[in-house]
């Protein structure tokens, strides 16, 4: 029996799922609140900007983007299998997990070059 490398993606999926369960709904309510309540975007920008100076905050922000990316990519990748939508593994894996990785890397780049 050949060892599967699924543990990597499953771990990321699990971390993302847990994160989404713990802060997902709260996060969405928060952006809705932003949309409704924010009256001074400049002040908000400044507050966020100063907050993001701390590397741990940047790391946490990266996690909030990257882990849900992996989580959703994992579910959608398996969802295609469930829907009998097939394709070469390298292609589908590349699109979903590669996409999540690429976007996470970009996110990291933007965050750490602020």
């Amino acid at each position: 029996m050949r060892r599967s490398h699924e543990p990597i993606s499953w771990s990321l999926f699990g971390a993302g799922g847990m994160l989404l369960a713990f802060i997902g709904p709260g996060l969405i309510v928060s952006t809705l609140l932003l949309a409704w309540l924010v009256q001074d975007p400049q002040a908000l920008y400044a507050t966020l900007h100063s907050g993001l100076q701390h590397p741990l905050v940047r790391l946490a922000t990266l996690a909030v983007i990257a882990l849900p990316l992996y989580h959703t990519a994992h579910r959608l990748y398996h969802g295609l299998h469930d829907l009998h939508i097939t394709g070469p593994t390298w292609l589908l894996g590349g699109v979903f997990y590669g996409g999540a990785t690429a976007l996470s890397a970009l996110c990291a780049f933007w965050l750490f070059t602020l």
Binding site: G17, M18, L20, A21, F22, I23, G24, P25, G26, L27, I28, V29, S30, T31, L32, L33, L34, A35, W36, L37, V38, Q39, D40, P41, Q42, A43, L44, Y45, T47, L48, H49, T61, V64, I65, P68, L69, H71, T72, A73, H74, R75, L76, H78, G79, D82, L83, H84, L103, L106, C107, W110, L111, T113, L114
Partner: protein, 135 residues
């Protein structure tokens, strides 16, 4: 003289049973959550491009499309949170000679954690908005 009938799983297998439909709905939460995550990612991009760009992103949030996406994502996130937390005690089982935690406690801890995490985030946001916002 055997000639077994080989059934093929139909593509729409998941429509045939309520349990499967619930499963597919749970899995489908990933789509709006992905789009929402991309929206957040866009926020970071805009943020990195400066104040004005960030304000634009904030205005995107208020467009009907932005609100719709957030509404669907909120429903998805709630469904995800409920189904996820319910499954945790079946996966995370702490039961060894040295340490045993009742699965009910594992469940309760995660329920409280999710409640605290989400409500805490909302409170924090409100607190963040208060001085910068109107009040």
């Amino acid at each position: 003289m055997r000639k077994p009938w080989q059934p093929q799983q139909p593509r729409n297998w998941w429509l045939r049973n309520p349990a499967y439909r619930r499963y597919m709905l749970r899995e489908a939460t990933a789509l709006p959550l992905l789009l929402y995550t991309l929206l957040l990612l866009a926020g970071i991009v805009q943020f990195s491009r400066g104040e004005a760009a960030f304000a634009t992103w904030l205005s995107w949030l208020q467009t009907p499309a932005g609100l719709l996406l957030q509404g669907i994502a909120l429903a998805a996130a709630l469904l995800h949170a409920v189904t996820w937390v319910a499954l945790v005690p079946k996966i995370l089982v702490i039961d060894s000679d040295r340490l045993r935690i009742d699965p009910r406690h594992v469940l309760r801890a995660h329920q409280l954690g999710a409640l605290a995490g989400n409500l805490g985030l909302i409170v924090a946001t409100l607190w963040l908005l208060w001085p910068t916002g109107g009040a």
